[in-house]
């Protein structure tokens, strides 16, 4: 059976069914109302402490949005209407605390579910969450794993919440398996950071597995085996051991340069979306950050982040990278990335429409807020600014005028900024690739965004299955495009990076080395593996490979040639 692997690694252990449903609420009369009220206030106090801890953790991590949620939760737990209401029901009707809590909270939930505002309607969910946590405390239902079942346990649930990652504090938890999930949920991100094998998207798994069943899951491939044979267990134990040894070998490369077999040095840098990612980068072996996707700072909120909020975030990221380069991409909104409060309107062709720098040059105040925040933070490390979706030289010049304006303003205000903050552009529109010789004279670096560049070069929507045969990096036009951009940049003496998914594609890395790419920017957990792969590739041979590719006419020939080259070095 197969699911979606979310966090790599192999877990072997006994199934533990983790109940995420609401517990059954007892309806009992009580004799001693004083004891009952005390029981309730104990639960409230415990939960308050617990939430306060989470609040402090989130604020310490600079995650103000999450901290705000916890602050609201703390206020709900201690809401005078809730507390007085529950105590009154215990007093007058002698109901047990759980029953009283159910009645009082239902009143508020109903009230909120009737509201017109969809945002406020969702707050009913917050109250349900708090009620469930209080009920668990009252009923003595623990969220920890009973380690007496086995010393190796795989936790199975419908869907995991970010807080469930705390289950790994018990050493016996070896993996997670759920019916619902996605690589981008907070839980998934935490699972990856915690290095706990995790598989999701297995519908009906809760009906198929009984508590205590033997289970194997492979977070790399998404494979699941229920009640495996002895042979299968042995095979996976071996695989797990191999993986462990391989990972230990990779760890030795953490502080080593990224070098090809014939001693040519390149750089491997990371893609990040926020402060949390930044803090793991050096540990994962990154030589810097090649793409900080700042749109995540703008998402999931009701209005744009202020200059100070952004400044604090950039400062933390720059400090976390300890002076290594951090390429900050300015707001890349539009296309498939929607931010409701920006009111960008619906378009027939959003990918060909009003997005990224096209939008920012018109919304000058919004753009300036971001640039000012980056420049102010620049004293804390090695910041670079990268502008997405450039199609013309004029756009670059206009953006540079605004950046200079911000620099002068800050200088007049007496604010210190770094002497030089390099400005580069994304090459993701074919027109930019075609005039890359002209653009290279105006900027300090290029970064090739492969997802968009492929889709625009081939005029093939990457979400459309019917044209998927066109959406791949093997077409001669795309190989030529890469060569043109890299050669034009090098001619003008600037460095070329790539921050799309292709930069960490094991079979494509030799092609990029052969083309002369300088910097490979990728997700943190691909860095060490890519560094290891490169050690086996000689630049000379890679250049010969590229020379061959440039003579081929079809995607199929190109793909086969690249794969044949890969087979020779990958093992």
């Amino acid at each position: 059976m197969n699911g979606l692997g979310i966090s790599e690694g192999i877990a072997i252990g006994k199934a533990f069914i983790y109940k995420t449903d609401e517990p059954e609420i007892p309806h009992l009369s009580v004799d001693d109302v004083v004891i009952e009220k005390k029981r309730f206030s104990n639960a409230v106090n415990n939960l308050t402490l617990n939430i306060k801890n989470k609040y402090e953790k989130a604020s310490a991590q600079g995650d103000q949005d999450r901290a705000d949620v916890f602050m609201a939760h703390e206020m709900i737990v201690n809401d005078p209407e809730l507390l007085d209401g529950v105590n009154a029901l215990i007093d007058t009707e002698e109901k047990c605390a759980e029953w009283a809590l159910e009645e009082v909270s239902n009143k508020f939930i109903q009230l909120m579910e009737q509201l017109d505002d969809p945002y406020l309607r969702q707050r009913a969910g917050d109250i349900k969450d708090i009620r469930q946590q209080l009920l668990k405390l009252l009923l003595g239902i623990s969220n920890t794993i009973d380690t007496s079942i086995d010393d190796s346990v795989i936790v199975i649930g419908r869907e995991f919440n970010p807080s469930d990652i705390a289950l790994t504090e018990s050493k016996s938890v070896k993996g997670f398996l759920s019916e619902i999930g996605a690589p981008t949920t907070h839980f998934s991100i935490l699972a990856k950071i915690t290095n706990i094998p995790t598989v999701t998207n297995v519908s009906g798994i809760l009906e198929m597995i009984n508590e205590g069943d033997m289970l194997i899951l492979d977070g790399t491939t998404g494979e699941i085996h229920i009640d495996p044979t002895k042979e299968t267990i042995q095979a996976f134990q071996q695989k797990k051991l191999d993986l462990k040894q391989f990972n230990e070998k990779l760890k030795l490369l953490k502080d080593k340069p990224s070098q090809t077999a014939d001693g040519v040095t390149v750089e491997i840098i990371g893609n990040i979306a926020g402060v949390n990612d930044a803090e793991t980068m050096l540990e994962l072996g990154a030589e810097g950050v090649g793409l900080f996707r700042t749109e995540f700072i703008y998402m999931d909120r009701s209005k744009a982040p202020t200059e100070n909020e952004q400044y604090e975030i950039y400062k933390k990221v720059l400090l976390a990278l300890e002076g290594k380069e951090v390429v900050i991409r300015t707001l890349d909104v539009g296309g498939d990335k929607e931010i409701p409060y920006l009111n960008m309107g619906k378009e027939d062709n959003p990918f060909l429409g009003y997005r990224a720098i096209r939008y920012c040059l018109n919304e000058k105040a919004l753009f300036k807020t971001q640039i000012r925040a980056i420049l102010r933070a620049s004293v804390f490390g090695h910041a670079k600014i990268m502008i997405p979706m450039i199609s013309t030289v004029d756009e670059v010049l206009d953006a540079k005028v605004i950046i200079n304006e911000c620099r002068l303003e800050l200088q007049n205000e007496g604010v210190k900024i770094a002497d030089t903050v390099e400005v580069g552009i994304m090459i993701e529109v074919p027109s930019a690739g075609i005039i890359s010789d002209l653009l290279a004279e105006e900027v300090d670096f290029f970064s090739i965004g492969t997802n968009d560049l492929i889709q625009y070069t081939m005029a093939a929507d990457r979400m459309n299955k019917d044209v998927a045969y066109l959406y791949h990096p093997y077409h001669p036009s795309f190989i030529r495009m890469l060569k043109m951009v890299i050669d034009n940049g090098h001619e003008k003496g600037i460095k070329i990076a790539m921050c799309g998914e292709l930069a960490s594609d094991p079979t494509f890395i030799p092609v990029l080395i052969g083309l002369g790419l300088d910097e490979f920017s990728m997700n943190g957990n691909a860095i060490l593996k890519s560094r290891w792969l490169m050690q086996n590739v000689s630049k000379k041979e890679a250049q010969a490979l590229v020379a061959t590719l440039l003579t081929l006419k079809t995607s199929r020939e190109i793909k086969e040639t690249i794969e044949a080259f890969g087979d020779a070095y990958e093992t």
């Binding site: 609201a72 005078p80 809730l82 508020f108 505002d117 009701s302």
Partner: protein
């Protein structure tokens, strides 16, 4: 009773409601918010959220007990601040 019109586009959401409650809890007197003749305890975040205060609503602030007057003016200035966000 003092009244104020809400001009914040998103009305009074979780965070502003939190700010308001926190301010109200600094006072020992009873403070009520009134909308369309219904009143809620200003110290209760659930009460305020449950009112569903939206842009254009006119809210009354009422207080009884010690420092009632300064309580009313503090709550008034917090809502003014929320309006400017």
């Amino acid at each position: 009773m003092k009244t104020i019109k809400i001009i914040n586009k998103t009305g009074i959401h979780a965070r502003p409601a939190g700010l308001l409650t926190k301010e109200a809890q600094k006072f020992s007197c009873d403070i009520d918010l009134i909308k369309d003749g219904k009143s809620v305890n200003a110290k209760s975040i659930m009460g305020i959220l449950g009112m569903g205060i939206a842009e254009g609503d006119v809210i009354g602030i009422q207080a009884n007990g010690t420092e009632a007057d300064s309580a009313i003016s503090s709550i008034y200035s917090i809502i003014e601040k929320i309006n400017q966000e």
